[in-house]
C-alpha cells in the first residue's frame, strides 16, 4: 500500500511506499527540465497540427495552413525535372538525325529518353527487351524489313506499317498464293525456301521450287531470295523469321500471305520522343549506317 513510505538511510530519499517482493523504489525527483522538454514537444506538435494536414474527417482531412500535400510535392518535383530536361529536349529537337548520331552526349541522352518512351509505347508488341515474338519483329538483331539506318527507323516509327488511314505508311503486298498455286507447288516452294535458308539440304522438290520461285517470288524477294527493303520483302536466306521458319509456318505464309500492322506514331508522339525512340532502337545492336541501300548488306561468313 502507498502508506509505507519511509526514508532510505544511505541516500536520504523517501521511498515510493510500495513493496514488490521485498524490493522498494526510491522516490527520487525527476529533473524539471524533462517537464519543460515535454511542454516544448507539445507546443511543437500543436504548431505541426495547425500547419500541416492532421485531422481525419469523414471524407478528407484538414488541409493545414501551409497547404502542403504529398501530391503537390510530387508535382513540384516533376516540374523541376521537366525544367532540367527542357534544354536537353530542345537540343535533341534542334539536331538532325545525323548530328544526333555523331554527338556522343546527345546520343546517350536520346537513347536513355528513348528507353523510357519505349517502355511506355512499344513493349506491348515488341516485348520488354525489344526481342519481339512471332509476328512482332525482334529489334535487337541486324535483320531489317524496312532498313535499320536512323532515317529508315525514324520513317517506320513515324508512319507505321500498313496503317489503314495514312497515306505515307509503309505498305507491302504479298499476294496470298494459296489462290494462285496448287498445294503441291506451295510445298515445293516451302522446300526451296528452307533450302536457301540453310535449314534443309537441296532435293528434287526444292529444285522444282526454285523454278517456281524465279517465276513468282523473285520480283519482290530478289532472284536469290535476299529480299528488297524498298518493298519490305524479307531476306529469306537468313535464320531470322518473323512468323516462323518451320515448314508449316512458311507454308501458311506463302498460302495466306502476312500483313502485320504497326501504328503510326507521328500523330501520337511529339517529334523529340520519336527521335529518342529512333536513337534507342538504333542502339540495340543492329543499327546500320546511313545510306544503306535497298538490298541487305552482303552476307557475313559465319
Amino acid at each position: 500500500m502507498a502508506d509505507n513510505k519511509r526514508i532510505d538511510e544511505p541516500t536520504g530519499t523517501e521511498t515510493v511506499g510500495h513493496e514488490w517482493d521485498g524490493i522498494e523504489e526510491l522516490n527520487t525527483p525527476l529533473p524539471r527540465w524533462w517537464l519543460w522538454t515535454l511542454y516544448a514537444t507539445i507546443v511543437w506538435s500543436v504548431g505541426f497540427l495547425i500547419l500541416y494536414p492532421a485531422w481525419p474527417l469523414l471524407t478528407r482531412a484538414t488541409e493545414g495552413v501551409l497547404g502542403w500535400t504529398s501530391r503537390g510535392q510530387y508535382e513540384q518535383e516533376m516540374a523541376e525535372q521537366r525544367a532540367v530536361m527542357a534544354p536537353v529536349h530542345a537540343a535533341i529537337d534542334r539536331a538532325s538525325l545525323e548530328q544526333l548520331s555523331a554527338d556522343p552526349t546527345l546520343r546517350q541522352q536520346a537513347v536513355e529518353g528513348g528507353r523510357a518512351a519505349f517502355r511506355m509505347h512499344c513493349v506491348q508488341c515488341h516485348g520488354s527487351g525489344a526481342a519481339g515474338t512471332p509476328g512482332y519483329p525482334n529489334l535487337n538483331d541486324d535483320d531489317w524489313l524496312w532498313g535499320g539506318s536512323m532515317e529508315q527507323i525514324h520513317f517506320t516509327i513515324t508512319h507505321g506499317i500498313r496503317n489503314p488511314d495514312h497515306d505515307e505508311t509503309r505498305t507491302s503486298q504479298m499476294p496470298a498464293f494459296g489462290e494462285m498455286l496448287e498445294p503441291g507447288q506451295i510445298g515445293e516452294l516451302t522446300a526451296h525456301v528452307r533450302t536457301i535458308s540453310g535449314q534443309q539440304p537441296a532435293d528434287a522438290a526444292a529444285g522444282r521450287g526454285a523454278t517456281l520461285f524465279a517465276a513468282n517470288c523473285a520480283a519482290c524477294h530478289g532472284p536469290d531470295g535476299r529480299g528488297n527493303r524498298e518493298l519490305g520483302a524479307p531476306n529469306l536466306t537468313d535464320p531470322i523469321w518473323l512468323y516462323g521458319g518451320d515448314a508449316a509456318s512458311i507454308r501458311t505464309t506463302i498460302a495466306n500471305s502476312r500483313n502485320g500492322v504497326m501504328p503510326r506514331w507521328g500523330h501520337r508522339l511529339d517529334a523529340v520522343t520519336i527521335k529518342m525512340l529512333t536513337a534507342y532502337v538504333h542502339s540495340l545492336g543492329g543499327g546500320e549506317a546511313n545510306g544503306t541501300g535497298a538490298a541487305a548488306p552482303p552476307a557475313r561468313q559465319p
Binding site: 529533473p31 524539471r32 535464320p239 545492336g285
Partner: protein, 482 residues
C-alpha cells in the same frame, strides 16, 4: 541529497547548480593535456593538406558525401569498403571496454566530448566570473549592469566557441579553405548553415547549461559501467576505512589520538572541485566521471595537515578489501594485465591488424560483368549468336588509366562496344577509365551459333600503363537450343 532528512513530496526538482572550484594536481594536468590534444585534433585536422594528384581533393581528412568517398591521409575508402569504418567502430567499442575495465571511466572523465567542452566552458566561466565563491555570489546578485556585462561576455565567448565547433564539423565534409570562404561570403549551401546552427545550439546548451545532466540522465554509457568494471578495475576510490569517522577541526585531530579519528576532516574540498557536483565519499555513482580532480584536491589538503596523501586515490576494489584488513595490496600491474584486459586488447589488436592487412592488399583495378537478361541471346542474320553484357570497370586510383577488356573461353568470339560497329571487331576492346571512378561499358559478344546452350566464359581487364594490373570475372554465354 547528503542529509538523511525527509524530501519534499514533489515529482520534479530543479537542477542544483554546480560551481566547481579550480584545482591543480597530477590529474588536473592530465585533463588539460588531453583536452588540448583532442581539441587541437578536432579543430586543426580539416585544415591539413595531402597531395593526391590533380584528380583528387587535397584535404587530408575528408568525407566526400556527394562523391561517396572517404579520404584519410593516404587511404581512400569507397562505399563498398564501408566495412573498414565498421571495423574502426568495433575497435572503438572494444577499446572503450579495454580502457574501462582497466582504469575505470577514463573516457568519461578525460576524453568524452561532453566532458572536454564542458570543462572548456567552465574555464571560460572561471575566467570571466571568477572562481567558485565569486560565481555563487554573482548568481545571487541582482541584475545590475555589472552582472549583465559579465553574463553577456561569458555567453558571447561560449557562442564563439560553439560556432567554431559547428564550423569545424562542416569542414570535414567539404574542402575547408573553400567552404570557409563561401560560408563567410554567404554563398555556402544552406545545409552548411543549418548544420552550424544546430551544432552551435547543441554545443552552447550542452556545454553551457546541461553539463552533468547529460552524464546523469542522457548518456547510456554510465549505466553500463557496472558490466565493464570489476573488482580489479582501477577507479577513483575514497578509502572510507581510512577516512571515517570524519572529524572537523584539524588541531584536535593532530593533538588527540589520531587512530580514533578518520583522516577525512570534512573540508568538502572534494565536493567543491567536482565538475558534476557529487560527493565521492558516497562511493562510485553515476555522477562520478572519475576525472580525478577530487584526488588532487584531497591530496593538497592532506599535505597541508601533514597526513599521507591518497585518501582518495585510483585503486581497485580488491585492494580496498585487502587494505581494510591491513593486508598488503596487490601490485597494480597484476590488475592491469589480467585475462579480461588481455583478451580485450588481443581482440582490438587483431581487428586492427586484419584491417591494416586488408587495406594494404586491396586491388586497385576491378571488373564485373552482368549479362543482359532480356533478351538473353539474339540470333544474327549470318547464323552467329550475340549476347549483351554490362561490364563495370572500377579504377580506384586518382589518375585515368587506359585498359583493355577481353573475353576468353569462347572460341571464335568477337566483342565490340554498343556504340561501335560489329565490322572489324576483335577479341579486345580498349577504354580509358576516369580517375577514381566506375566505368560502365555495354559490350556485345558474338560467337558461332552452334555450341553449348550455356557456356562458361570469362572477361578480363588489363591495365595498359606501366603499373599494370589485371582482374578477371566469370560470366555465361547463352545460345538458343539447337
Amino acid at each position: 541529497m547528503n542529509e538523511p532528512a525527509a524530501k519534499p513530496k514533489s515529482l520534479y526538482e530543479k537542477r542544483a547548480p554546480v560551481y566547481p572550484k579550480a584545482v591543480d594536481g597530477t590529474f588536473r594536468r592530465i585533463k588539460w593535456a588531453i583536452m588540448i590534444v583532442t581539441l587541437a585534433i578536432y579543430y586543426v585536422t580539416p585544415w591539413l593538406r595531402w597531395d593526391r594528384g590533380p584528380y583528387a581533393p587535397d584535404q587530408a581528412v575528408l568525407v566526400d558525401l556527394a562523391g561517396r568517398r572517404f579520404y584519410m591521409f593516404g587511404i581512400e575508402i569507397w562505399p563498398h569498403e564501408f566495412y573498414y569504418v565498421a571495423g574502426l567502430l568495433i575497435m572503438a567499442g572494444i577499446g572503450l571496454f579495454l580502457v574501462t575495465s582497466s582504469i575505470g571511466r577514463a573516457w568519461c572523465g578525460y576524453a568524452c566530448p561532453q566532458t572536454v567542452w564542458t570543462d572548456l566552458f567552465q574555464h571560460v566561466e572561471r575566467f570571466i566570473d571568477g572562481d567558485r565563491n565569486a560565481q555563487i555570489r554573482l548568481q545571487k546578485a541582482p541584475w545590475k549592469l555589472g552582472k549583465i556585462a559579465r553574463r553577456g561576455a561569458k555567453y558571447a565567448v561560449w557562442l564563439a566557441i560553439a560556432v567554431a565547433t559547428g564550423g569545424a564539423w562542416i569542414f570535414y565534409f567539404a574542402d575547408a579553405p573553400t567552404l570557409a570562404r563561401d560560408f563567410i561570403a554567404g554563398e555556402a549551401d544552406p545545409i552548411a548553415y543549418t548544420t552550424v546552427a544546430i551544432l552551435t545550439a547543441t554545443t552552447f546548451i550542452l556545454g553551457g547549461f546541461m553539463r552533468e545532466q547529460v552524464c546523469i540522465y542522457m548518456c547510456p554509457w554510465p549505466r553500463i559501467q557496472g558490466a565493464m568494471m570489476d573488482e580489479k578495475t582501477l577507479t577513483v576510490t575514497y578509502k572510507e576505512w581510512r577516512g571515517e569517522p570524519r572529524h572537523r577541526g584539524t588541531k584536535k585531530a593532530t593533538l588527540d589520538d589520531i587512530i580514533s579519528r578518520g583522516d577525512c576532516i570534512d573540508c568538502n574540498a572534494c565536493v567543491a572541485v567536482c565538475p558534476t557536483g557529487i560527493d565521492i565519499r558516497n562511493g562510485p555513482q553515476i555522477g562520478c566521471i572519475t576525472c580525478g580532480e577530487c584526488i588532487d584536491a584531497c591530496d593538497r589538503v592532506m599535505t597541508q595537515i601533514e597526513r599521507p596523501r591518497g585518501l582518495i586515490a585510483y585503486d581497485t576494489f580488491e585492494n580496498g578489501e585487502l587494505d581494510r584488513k591491513k593486508l598488503k595490496s596487490k601490485p597494480v600491474a597484476k590488475a592491469l594485465f589480467r585475462p579480461r584486459t588481455i583478451l580485450y586488447f588481443s581482440a582490438w589488436a587483431a581487428i586492427g591488424l586484419i584491417m591494416l592487412f586488408g587495406v594494404a592488399n586491396r586491388t586497385r583495378l576491378d571488373i564485373s560483368a552482368q549479362q543482359d537478361r532480356n533478351p538473353v541471346y539474339v540470333r544474327l542474320s549470318d547464323g552467329q549468336v550475340r549476347n549483351g553484357f554490362t561490364i563495370k570497370l572500377r579504377n580506384m586510383q586518382a589518375r585515368p588509366r587506359p585498359v583493355e577488356v577481353s573475353v576468353s573461353g569462347l572460341p571464335g568470339a568477337v566483342l565490340w562496344t554498343a556504340d561501335g560497329v560489329r565490322e572489324g571487331a576483335t577479341t579486345r576492346v580498349t577504354a580509358t577509365v576516369e580517375p577514381d571512378a566506375l566505368a560502365k561499358l555495354r559490350i556485345f559478344v558474338a560467337a558461332p551459333g552452334g555450341g553449348e546452350e550455356r557456356q562458361d566464359i570469362a572477361f578480363s581487364v588489363r591495365a595498359l600503363d606501366a603499373e599494370g594490373g589485371e582482374d578477371t570475372t566469370a560470366a555465361i554465354f547463352e545460345r538458343p537450343a539447337s
